[in-house]
Symmetry: C2
Subunit: 226 residues, 2 copies
DNA sequence: GTTAATGTTTCGGCGTGCCGAAATTTCACT
DNA sequence: AGTGAAATTTCGGCACGCCGAAACATTAAC
């Protein structure tokens, strides 16, 4: 009785997590955006959306929008809890780095029982954030509302610490590591160059801070708390 | 690139592991025994055996026998390595008991990448045996030949230590725990009652050893080293 | 040696989830 | 408002792995 009893299929969980992820980032959830995020064909996505609607996980307006229902959101939190606890576990216990954990957690999140997840949570001391600063939902589906701001949307002069990285790309994460932009690092927004130009920041403690020029991709990915 | 690249399906791995397990225990591998072990229908098993033969993992004589090929055995070792390392990991790192690990490892063994398995092996110090005393194959597919004997097949008077439990049933494992029959425990075969009667054993160190009467199910499950 | 019981395989069918091609709807532009 | 491009959905089809029922092979028993 491993009580992984009657979980939705791995596919269903993947879709729900993807929909949540897009919504969380303020991206419109459409067949197109989902198709792109999941790397599937439009026809597959269309079919699955219909199925999710039948399952009551999603409300779907044909040719228009997709939105999680309360049930769908609840499922998303469950999956996210598993995913993020696994990521942290891999880093804390198995010496992974933050750029390596995502694909591994992706595969494991569907195979892990609720019992195992709670063992892991206990082992880690019931942590609240994963290695990328993403909040870990509690077992009963409560998530912290983020109080952080994207670097993108902050006025020059702002100083804060890096609180979250909204990306899983391991190249990008390694780039950040290599330039001192890890979780908790001090960062100051100096100026924004016009016409989509780079964001100029100073990273590190006052004295030995280094200046970096961040493109929109990174500036739209880093969140700070100040 | 989590290089879990192109693993056989979870089903194929399950069949191969089951076939190996039966062979290891000296049970004839037939449609019937496999059907029973996997809890599937005879027609499903028949179909999959044909497929395994096409994949070159198994030689199949119609209406007769099923046997792993070298490739099949190699795959079985890979799966067994994952399974057994996971079981030990759950016990050592996540405070599972030996009667709880099997179903969990069953689900995880297909989802875990080779990298993760090597991280786990390293974390555990490259162990050679899982919590039930089963040998863990090395990464390149070498397994220790067991030098243990089933309690069943040992003459009265023999003394040894419990080296392996050929069962995954959690009730049985808890029974063993509750009666001091854990890995490494000293055990002496006192006498075999006739006509399928129980095996009389003394368990524990000389002074405070306890006498137990073991039915065939347990006697055929415990291996000792002497 | 024939026969009946037992074990194995074949057949048709189902559910899931994927795809490409074709049909449909929406949207943006004139 | 009309039209063409872009997005979405429908359709037919495929691979996988499961099942029950029916056909078939093997074996044991008379």
């Amino acid at each position: 009785m491993t009580s992984m009893a009657e979980r939705p299929s791995a596919s269903v969980e993947d879709y729900v997590r993807a929909i949540y992820g897009l919504t969380e980032r303020g991206v419109a959830v459409t067949n197109a955006t989902l198709t792109q995020r999941l790397g599937l064909s439009p026809s597959s996505v269309s079919g699955m959306i219909t199925k999710l609607a039948q399952l009551g996980l999603v409300t779907h307006i044909r040719y228009r929008s997709v939105e999680l229902t309360a049930d769908g959101r609840r499922l998303a939190y469950d999956v996210l809890r598993r995913h993020r606890l696994l990521e942290l576990f891999l880093v804390e216990v198995l010496d992974y780095t933050w750029d390596e954990v995502h694909p591994e957690a992706d595969a494991l999140e569907h195979a892990v029982s609720d019992e195992l997840i709670e063992h892991i949570a206990a082992k880690l001391g019931h942590p609240t954030h994963d290695p990328h600063g993403d909040p870990i939902p509690t077992a009963d589906g409560v998530v912290e509302k983020p109080t952080t701001r994207l670097l993108d949307q902050v006025e020059p002069g702002t100083i804060g610490t890096i609180a979250r990285v909204w990306d899983t790309d391991s190249e990008l994460l390694r780039y950040l590591t290599d330039h001192g932009m890890t979780l908790g690092a001090r960062i100051e927004v100096v100026e924004r160059k016009p016409f989509g130009g780079p964001l100029v920041v100073r990273v590190g403690e006052a004295a030995e801070a280094e200046t970096h020029f961040l493109g929109t991709e990174i500036a739209g990915t880093l969140s700070i708390r100040s």
